[in-house]
């Protein structure tokens, strides 16, 4: 297709580059670079943040996220099995749970869990427990659907083949279906870890001591202290340190799963020649 209408293609490309250059020039002229530098790249402000943002805030964000992820994964697995259960009340409960937590902002869940539940049940959780529960409850709703979809995505033929070899349903699930489901859900699960990392920015509503600050809280606090946006920008970059590698990992895993099929096709094509 590349051969056709060379000239027209050249013109089109020229116009595209033109627009790009025009936009860049406009931004350069329009923006107040001094103010931008002061606001976003204020070295003094950055100085007051480093190294705590790495040694404390980044670590806390990762820790909170992992706590929530672990609890959410466990609860999500239970919910997924409930949704696939043959007992209707379990399916109903799981469906209600999932619909509810997928439909309501995490912020409301955090407030309810941090302040409402202690009032209602007259119990008190430590911060880590609260964070684990709050992030986990939200994450579980997403992971439940992922896990369920993963189990159902294993071709029915795999279960049938296992059964036809004399395996019981339970054994076939454990030795054949769930290991394959796990590979299928690894990429979306990684994506849910990213979502939880971002949702962890909301735990400030639970109330935090200085050494418990996560990245967002730390950045906002820095904004107050320095009146510069640099701390917020730093916090944002710290999130990217976590989320971008995860997102590449997720895509890598996805590609690897996809490539297997391609490999099979190639092998089939080769056999003829060999």
């Amino acid at each position: 297709m590349a051969v056709s209408k060379r000239k027209r293609a050249r013109v089109v490309r020229g116009v595209q580059y033109g627009i790009l250059v025009a936009v860049v020039i406009l931004v350069i002229l329009f923006a107040d670079w001094g103010a931008i530098r002061d606001a976003f790249f204020n070295l003094d402000a950055a100085g007051t943040q480093v190294p705590q943002i790495f040694t404390s805030a980044l670590v806390n964000t990762a820790l909170y996220t992992l706590l929530g992820f672990a609890f959410g994964l466990a609860l999500g697995l239970v919910l997924a099995l409930m949704k696939l259960s043959s007992v209707p009340p379990y399916r109903w409960l799981a469906t209600i749970y999932i619909e509810f937590f997928r439909g309501v902002p995490a912020l409301l869940v955090f407030i309810t869990l941090g302040f409402g539940v202690p009032i209602a049940f007259q119990i008190k959780f430590g911060l880590y427990t609260t964070v684990m529960l709050a992030l986990g409850l939200v994450g579980a709703a997403y992971m439940a659907e992922t896990i369920r979809a993963g189990i159902q995505a294993v071709p029915k033929g795999q279960l049938e083949a296992a059964r036809s070899l004399g395996m019981s349903h339970g054994r076939a699930m454990i030795t054949i279906v769930i290991p394959q489901a796990f590979r299928i859900i690894l990429p979306p699960l990684t994506n849910e870890l990213i979502l939880l990392t971002k949702d962890s920015s909301l735990i400030y509503v639970l109330g935090l001591a200085r050494e418990e600050y996560d990245l967002t809280k730390f950045g906002r606090e820095g904004l107050n202290e320095t009146s510069s946006l640099t701390p917020i920008l730093l916090a944002g970059l710290c999130y990217l340190i976590i989320t971008i590698p995860l997102s590449y990992l997720s895509r890598y895993l996805e590609r690897r799963t996809g490539r297997k099929k391609a490999a099979a096709d190639t092998a089939a094509a080769l056999e003829v020649k060999g």
Binding site: E160, A161, R163, L165, G166, Q180, K260, A264
Partner: protein, 260 residues
């Protein structure tokens, strides 16, 4: 759990189906099937798409549960609610159109896992048996390959070897070559022919008329959930008695001649 009667009398059929009915919702797929397969027989089932061939085969190892009728395999009545179906299935090997090798396990693990977990064989024993069967289907050099590294034809042969490793009394094949490129069909049919020659009892759903003609002891033509015609291949394929059989065969055997 009930007991499987041991070594049935030699003249007993390996598979005996009587009055088998099966519906999916309002769709009657099997409408009274009677069939006996004797030890060592190769029965080929032919018929148009949707005629119920796969459903019949799947009923024979209860991948589909019949609505009514009886299925006795090797002396065990599978439709008895108290039968241990997992145990009964061990005697019935099944080969699927889509191979269904366990995609997360290597070829040899595919062959040994059920031997070990279901029959309780030792690792060494199951490995030996797996090797023997892989050599038999010409895949002695693919022991450690993953299924995705095999061509469709190789996968299907591995699937046959996997079923054989459970020492089945009867093997069910559901269009084992339909998902293969034309040039890979031959290898799989070759393995099946060899199995038949060795005296395996086989029930084969297939569109390969040449294979049916040459290998089958009995050919069964199904249409609309009933067996329309049944007999030796020379008779059913060579000289069909029923109009429906004739139409089907002319379509399948001479696709080019069919007119607009």
């Amino acid at each position: 759990m009930s007991e499987t009667p041991s070594t049935p009398a030699a003249e007993d059929p390996v598979v005996r189906i009587t009055g088998l009915h099966k519906s999916f919702g309002s769709l009657q797929v099997l409408r009274g099937i009677d069939l006996e397969v004797r030890r060592g027989d190769v029965v080929c089932i032919i018929g148009a798409s949707g005629s119920g061939k796969s459903t019949l085969l799947r009923c024979v190892n209860l991948l589909e549960v019949p609505d009514s009728g009886q299925i006795v395999v090797h002396g065990t009545d599978l439709t008895d609610p108290d039968v241990d179906i997992d145990k009964a299935r061990r005697g019935i090997g099944m080969v699927f159109q889509s191979f269904n090798l366990f995609s997360h396990l290597s070829v040899v693990d595919n062959l040994t896992i059920a031997q070990r977990k279901v029959l309780g064989r030792s690792k060494a024993e199951s490995w030996n048996i797996a090797n023997t069967n892989l050599n038999k289907v010409g895949l002695g050099d693919k022991v450690h390959s993953m299924p995705t590294q095999l061509s469709g034809g190789q996968q299907q042969r591995a699937a046959i070897a996997r079923a054989l490793s459970m020492d089945p009394d009867v093997m069910l094949f559901d269009e084992p070559t339909s998902a293969l490129d034309p040039e890979l069909v031959g290898d799989v049919l070759g393995v099946m022919r060899q199995l038949a020659d060795e005296g395996m009892t086989m029930l084969v759903v297939t569109h390969e008329m040449q294979f049916a003609k040459e290998v089958a002891d009995v050919v069964l033509f199904m249409d609309g959930g009933v067996v329309v015609e049944q007999g030796a291949p020379a008779q059913v394929i060579g000289d069909p008695q029923h109009e429906r059989t004739r139409t089907f065969l002319s379509r399948v055997l001479n696709p080019v001649q069919v007119e607009e």
